[in-house]
Symmetry: C2
């Protein structure tokens, strides 16, 4: 059954009222919020109808109405106003994105914090997990007993490791080895690096001391951990301020759930992607999220990979504001990391120290 215009107005009033107040909304409040020119009795009839249809529910007989997941869903899909960010808000986001130093891990942590600050909900970031392959290997000779492995992966991530050896190696061996690694290992994903391949490389390099296995070990290790998508949460404490998480046990369960990055990665499984995705209460696959909502925005992480940034909160969440903010952040991230990986404007010189970053009026 299609809802009448008035019913939609009423539903919207209930949803928004409940988002504001966290308390069941009664017929009088609806009247006040909608400004409809009818009596509260009429509203009551409509409320009863909406309840019958499953958009609203009553905590108990003599209470006001609270939106159901179905109600929120309709609200999110059709009723909610697109929220435009104010100039000062976009300004702030831009400024923060600019001022954050690169280094993907730290960047994502900072962006998460920013999302928390802007929405006051716990924020999570998930860096996409496209399984990486090796693009280039360099070995930097330091002294007979140590060298640095520098590893360039697809996605332009660079990893490094300082290796101390319990025996001596030589500059020449390292040069020879890195050439061999570049020849034999480029384009390989972790599964395709076999013990045989390592052994043959070792022989080819004339490496009798096991340097090859050290390098190969790091390679495999790096590829494996880069496969497990990097996830990150911040601002969990903010849950505790919300009336729906006054029960420490409930809060504990959710925070605990969020603190395991494997759980977060599971969110990537969320199908069909538009630009912002809203998962309301029971729409969530995970039991622990069943009475919370998750809003996710995906961004272009460069090299054809996508990342997610989102927040977790009660189903009673200001979806329009949250969605708008996340979308804007995701957009900014895409610009920063995405597509042609073209450097941001004003690169070079801007990086230099003392280039006081607030001087951009």
């Amino acid at each position: 059954m299609e809802l009448t215009g008035r019913q939609k107005k009423i539903l919207r009033a209930v949803v928004e009222g409940y988002i504001d107040a966290a308390e069941p909304i009664g017929s009088h409040t609806v009247l006040a919020r909608t400004g409809l020119t009818c009596s509260s009795a009429t509203i009551r009839n409509e409320l009863a109808a909406l309840t019958r249809e499953g958009y609203l529910e009553q905590p108990h007989t003599s209470a006001g109405r609270v939106p159901t997941a179905k109600g929120y869903r309709l609200y999110v899909n059709e009723l909610m106003m697109e929220r435009e960010l104010s100039h000062s808000e976009t300004e702030e986001i831009n400024r923060k994105l600019q001022s954050t130093p690169a280094g993907t891990d730290k960047l994502m942590a900072d962006v998460g914090k920013m999302a928390t600050e802007l929405t006051s909900y716990p924020a999570l970031t998930i860096s996409a997990a496209a399984s990486a392959t090796v693009k280039r290997v360099d070995l930097i000779y330091l002294d007979p007993n140590s060298f640095i492995i520098v590893l360039l992966l697809t996605g332009d991530t660079v990893k490094n490791k300082l290796v101390h050896l319990p025996f001596s190696s030589t500059q020449t061996l390292l040069t020879r080895l890195s050439a061999l690694f570049n020849a034999n290992f480029t384009g390989l994903s972790e599964e395709r690096i076999t013990p045989e391949l390592i052994a043959s490389t070792e022989r080819a390099a004339g490496d009798t001391m096991g340097v090859t296995s050290v390098v190969a070990g790091f390679l495999i290790e790096t590829l494996m951990t880069s496969k497990g998508a990097g996830a990150n949460v911040s601002g969990e404490a903010n849950l505790l301020k919300l009336p729906e998480f006054q029960d420490p046990d409930k809060a504990h369960r959710l925070i605990n759930y969020l603190s395991d990055s494997r759980n977060l990665s599971a969110l990537t499984a969320a199908p069909d992607f538009g630009d912002v995705k809203v998962l309301i209460g029971p729409e969530n696959a995970a039991l622990e999220l069943r009475d919370s909502s998750v809003v996710l925005a995906s961004y272009d992480a460069g090299d054809g990979m996508r990342g997610l940034i989102g927040v977790v909160g009660p189903t009673r969440m200001d979806y329009s504001a949250v969605a708008a903010k996340l979308a804007y952040i995701a957009g900014g991230l895409s610009r920063l990391l995405g597509a042609g990986s073209s450097p941001p404007a004003g690169f070079g010189k801007l990086m230099i120290k003392g280039g006081d970053s607030d001087a951009q009026k």
Copy 2:
């Protein structure tokens, strides 16, 4: 006034009883716990004396006794039994320390998680902040528009960055530049890298495109951020299970405090270091920690730097167990990172994939 032996026994019983039960301890409970051969009335007299001396207090007239900070302090200093870790516990710690892949940031995060698991309190790690200097700079040429900066700092931390240029550079320029950087910048801390130095390097390299400033910018940025000690918290949610944090507001304040790494770094200011340090309630400088306790163990992070690993919990904390565990973890970390930075035994080969790490019976 020096306490009598019996009073010490009683104090210990109260502290340990309260640690176990989180409820005020009465004269009968003390009798049961100590096994003293006197009556409860005698205990009551002693309890009254200990209260008068400030070791204990009563939540209200007709309640049992609870230790004060002074009481805990005496307990920690003199009364508590050195707790030996069981073989399975040390075993477990060793195993986890071994299996954690290097990469200092991730390592510390993992060790923090381990501390949380072992103690069931939020754990924090603070990597010491000895201001680093440059040991070596390498520039790896990738293609005309991009190269990698590899930076080796004191403390053997390696940092890197992939740079995309909006213009072309050449292999020769990069080689020349890295030689110049190594000649002019080694041993310099962030403050001593002046714009003049950069300018003269740029001239010397014949760099007309600003590559030098990009590299120098990264250098400065890295040195600056490495100065702000890296801190890390995990397991905050565990607080919510404790009876003293049932008030969501209280929990929120503490978790919030912990989530700001600047606050954590402030803990480094804690003076005079033995091997494990206990800060009980009001002994903490920070207001937010005034009714919690912090236990910190310091470890050798190599290159003369020290790091901290610790936990935060209610003053009612099993100090002996926590201290023992942290000390053991810190010891393990020192062995792993510390001193001569000598590689752990069985290095090389062990790293290789499939070297099933549990097979060390």
